[in-house]
Amino acid sequence: MKRIWAITMMTICLLAATEAFAASAMEVMKNSQAAFLYQGKDFKVRVLMRLVSRDGRERIREMTMLRINTGEAGGDQKYFIYFFKPADVKDMTFMVHKYPARDDDRWIFVPAINMVRRIAAQDKRSSFVGSDFTYEDVSGRDIEDDAHELLREESSNGRDCFVVKSTPRAGDADYLHRLSWIDKTTFLPVKEEYYDQKGELYRLFTAEEIKEVDGLPTITRRMMKNLQSGHATEVTYTRVEYNIGIEDALFSERFMRQPPKKWTE
């Protein structure tokens, strides 16, 4: 009788612990999302992307990226991208209105034919401008799309981290699950590992450089490596600015055709 009692107690404790772990995993991911993708009211940055093939050949993308949050962390956002490089796409602009619960709206301006087009966005897992980052990697994946599980706490690259395993609830993602190392103090992801349908590690994200800008910790250099193709993309942020008063009106078709210089430079 005593033994049954003991086992019951233990089971309850275990269940409670698991529950707490799950809750805290969700908590960790929410904090991380806020720190990683929703920092500040608005945000401006010059982005340099280096797309490097296995044998070291390079493609360059250079752009200015603007973002405003229209709601709380985890809520709606607007992105505006102005391209400088490659040279023949100069003046091209790209705009995203991001809604967590449904498909984003995307527009592209093609200067050579002076035309703005909407781009369908149902596939968030497709490559962003030919890089190893997907659209979701750039603007964030809905937290509710995955089941999160706190695996352990460990140090990575000298930072104390939570290790969270996120498994897509629907089978439509290109990966089976991913592991994230979330810095306990900044809540920035310092490393992410993506496992493919065969259960093999195939994509690796690393935060290469973290700097404080206006008191906000920001990943200023990051890397995404495809371990199967050997292709990698390095993204460097320069001229990072937060809370500079970007107006909502900028995120419109009219400004896509003629964006004000002060916001693109």
């Binding site: 797309l51 093939s53 296995r54 044998d55 050949r57 390079e58 493609r59 391209f83 490659p86 023949d88 796409v89 091209m92 790209f94 592209i108 093609v110 200067p111 050579a112 034919i113 035309m115 087009r117 909407r118 781009i119 369908a120 149902q122 596939d123 497709s126 490559s127 962003f128 401008v129 030919g130 890089s131 190893d132 439509d172 493919d196 349908q197 065969k198 495809n226 199967q228 193709s229 292709h231």
Partner: protein, 766 residues
């Protein structure tokens, strides 16, 4: 005289010789556990060869895969229905999980990128992420498929009955294993669909694996047939075993040597045992002569010694010529061919040694009373075979003019046939007409653009040139030009993506299905495409700096001739349209062409070398250029006739046949050497008292019987190959069987006729 002392030593100490032979064989056998195998025919060209290096380069530049398997799915009622589409989706999901499959670049309905316009929205997304609901959804899919040039003939046939999933393989993945796994996956799907697994890696790796298996089956069968036929000839189990023992020994030692030296057993060297077994039949001349001698002398030891004296010299020379024929392969550039040549040449020389020690030693164990009974029938005058051979011999002796004239006519016909020989190679046709692999290939080639893939790489002199409208129009023109070739089923390039975007941006207006006017437009369209498409879509068709472009060419046949025509058309176009762009072929189909030409040329080189060497050896043997020339005639005659027949049959001069030509030389000359040597010996023995015609008839009847026995045994061993499921084996089997029988008949009919006609010239000094 040393060789005679070796024979005497062996006859005096037979147990010691046998024991030594067993020990040596066991020593070579100890190497067997070290065996490694390499069944990939591609490795016949080293990784450092030009074509492999340049193909690797192209693959790297454009992120391509060396090998792609094509899985065809056919539904006669049309594949555009929910059931079949559901199967396509399930199968694709399973296929990407197979180890060795480059999952990220599998191209099929659910993975291939499609560019469409819906209202004012541009969409770049997988063609079919979910199976469409309802008739309207299906109809939309049908429309999408057929209005996109990139899909028709690639993933959908014009009549909607066939689709394909293109499954690229990671480097060093085994095509056969993956093909087998795909076959297991589709087996789960029951229904009215039919599935075809095709593509070069399937054919190549299946061939490699099958070839290996076949050798494991055919070598023992050939051995058993030889055993049975020799038993039928000599009616003695012991004698049959004595013929087989040296054969087994040289096989074990040669294979042991190759393995011991660290060479992997390649598809080429896996054929060595059957060849060695056939070569070992040369020792039959010893047994043949022994029967006659014993019948005359009734003294076992004396019969052995006399036999060896009579057949010793021709044996030495026949084995040397055979060895030279194979050793000529060592001149080849291709390592596995060299190894094969070396192994067989070594085995042949070992056989020569055994003929002078092991075989005489074995003969001493034979029971006298048994031989007495058996040899009773061996009388040149009474034996049926001998009488038949005498008749054959007399044809040449009595009517030399007519015989030779017939020969000349035959040679002229043969030359005509040879001139019709068509150099070609087609690996898929190495499988028989009814086989799965060939059936799959035919079905897919009939329905879609083709399973054989080549690339045409265009290289400009400056970066970004490929984005210019001139370059785009040049590539487009080249595609249309190549598509005029009957065997080119489909081509696609970066131009097709650009044209597609142009059209989609302009409200799907077909008038805009064309190359845009400015470089900016092209650059921005490509960028727009790359904003959403899989990176590999673009990587596969242009390099990073847009200096090079890659045109994919799907061909409906694996004939290397098709690739040759493609290259010709490519050069024509380059000549007619001057532009600072150079064009180069690449891809599997191009590799096959180079591989074929390289192997073929190596064989021709070996053939020419062997032709000269054999002649030189004949001069040495007979110490006379004239006799060497005469003995050369049956060889040339046989080879000419065989190739003449091949020419008339319209059979391609392909890789297997080119390998054979080399080997045939050293073997086909053997009979002439035996014949002429024994004739000369007979003339010497009878001291010129016997008329030449009688000596010739005697030679035809007695050593001739050995020749016929040798030919039959040899042919019997190889005849098993005619029943092989792979056509190159059938070819090899049929070729060797006819060569042996033909050269035996040539020797017995034409040599007497020639010698009679030329007797004044031949015997002038005698």
């Amino acid at each position: 005289m040393r060789k005679f002392s070796l024979v005497e030593f062996s006859v005096d100490h037979p147990r010691l010789v046998v024991a030594l032979a067993v020990i040596v064989t066991l020593l070579f056998m100890t190497q067997f556990p070290k065996i490694t195998t390499d069944t990939n025919p591609k490795n016949m060209l080293p990784a450092t060869s030009d074509v492999r290096v340049s193909n690797d380069e192209v693959e790297k530049t454009f992120g391509l895969y060396e090998d792609t398997i094509v899985l065809g799915i056919v539904n006669e009622k049309g594949i555009l229905n929910r059931t079949t589409l559901g199967r396509i989706q399930r199968i694709t999901n399973e296929v990407v999980r197979i180890k060795g499959v480059a999952a990220r670049d599998v191209a099929g309905f659910t993975t291939i990128d499609n560019v469409t316009a819906e209202g004012d929205t541009l969409r770049v997304a997988p063609l079919m992420a979910k199976v469409p609901e309802g008739a309207a959804g299906i109809e939309r899919l049908r429309k999408t498929l057929h209005e996109n040039h990139l899909f028709v003939d690639r993933i959908i046939s014009k009549d909607d009955t066939t689709t394909a999933i293109y499954v690229p393989l990671e480097k060093d993945a085994n095509g056969k294993e993956i093909a087998d796994r795909i076959r297991e996956i589709v087996k789960f799907e029951q229904g009215e669909e039919r599935y075809h697994v095709a593509g070069d890696p399937v054919a190549r790796d299946t061939f490699g694996a099958e070839m290996f298996k076949l050798m494991g089956i055919f070598s023992p069968i050939a051995g058993m047939i030889m055993f049975a036929v020799s038993f039928f000839m000599f009616r003695s189990l012991f004698l049959s075993a004595s013929i087989m023992a040296p054969a087994m020994m040289i096989i074990i030692c040669s294979m042991g040597l190759l393995i011991g030296l660290g060479f992997p057993v390649h598809i080429m060297s896996s054929m060595a045992p059957v060849f060695l077994m056939a070569i070992a039949t040369d020792s039959i001349h010893i047994f043949n002569e022994f029967y006659f001698r014993f019948h005359e002398k009734h003294d076992k030891k004396a019969a052995i010694l006399e036999t060896m004296r009579a057949v010793g010299k021709p044996l030495i020379y026949t084995d040397i010529t055979t060895a030279v024929g194979f050793a000529s392969l060592m001149l080849a550039n291709i390592i596995p061919v060299k190894v094969f040549g070396f192994g067989v040449a070594f085995g042949t020389m070992l056989l020569l040694l055994l003929s002078f020690c092991l075989i005489p030693a074995l003969l001493t164990f034979i029971r006298v009373d048994k031989v007495e009974r058996l040899t009773a029938a061996e009388e040149t005058a009474t034996s049926k075979t001998s009488r038949f051979l005498m008749i054959l011999g007399r044809v040449g002796v009595r009517r030399p003019g007519a015989t030779i004239l017939t020969g000349v006519v035959l040679v002229l016909l043969a030359v005509l046939g040879v001139s019709r020989i068509h150099v070609n190679n087609n690996m898929v046709e190495w499988f028989k007409a009814g086989s799965d692999i060939r059936g799959a290939d035919q079905a897919l080639n009939a329905a879609l653009g083709g399973t054989s893939l080549a690339y045409v790489v265009a290289q400009a002199q400056e970066d970004d040139f490929m984005k210019s409208p001139e370059a785009m129009r040049y590539l487009e023109g080249l595609q249309r030009h190549l598509e005029k070739l009957p065997m080119v089923g489909k081509t696609f390039s970066v131009v097709d993506y650009v044209k597609r975007i142009n059209r989609v941006l302009h409200d799907d207006d077909p008038a805009f299905d064309a190359v845009p006017e400015t470089k900016e437009m092209i650059g921005q369209y490509i960028f727009l495409f790359s904003m959403s498409a899989k990176p590999s879509d673009l990587d596969n068709v242009v390099d990073y700096p847009f200096r090079k472009a890659n045109i994919w060419v799907q061909m409906k046949t694996w004939d290397v001739q098709a690739t040759r025509d493609l290259i010709k058309a490519m050069d024509e176009y380059a000549l007619a349209h001057p532009m600072p762009i150079t064009l180069k072929p690449a891809g599997t189909a191009y590799f096959n062409l180079v591989w074929n030409d390289e192997v073929l040329w190596d064989m021709v080189k070996g053939f020419l070398a062997a032709l000269v060497m054999v002649f030189v050896i004949l001069i040495f043997n007979f110490r006379s250029v004239k006799w060497a020339m005469v003995s050369y005639v049956p060889l040339l005659f046989t080879i000419l006739l065989l190739y003449g027949v091949i020419g008339f049959m319209g059979k391609d001069f392909d890789m297997p046949i080119s390998v054979l030509s080399c080997l045939s030389l050293g073997m086909a000359v053997d009979f002439a050497i035996h014949f002429v040597s024994r004739l000369q010996l007979r003339r010497a023995e009878t001291g010129g008292a016997e008329p030449l015609a009688d000596s010739l008839v005697w030679t035809a009847a007695r050593p001739g019987k050995g020749i016929l026995r040798n030919a039959i045994l040899f042919a019997a061993a190889f005849s098993v190959m005619i029943f092989a499921p792979l056509t190159p084996y059938v070819t090899v089997g049929a070729f060797i069987v006819s060569m042996m029988l033909l050269s035996a008949v040539m020797t017995i009919i034409y040599l007497p006729a020639l010698i009679i006609l030329l007797q004044n010239w031949l015997f002038k000094e005698v």
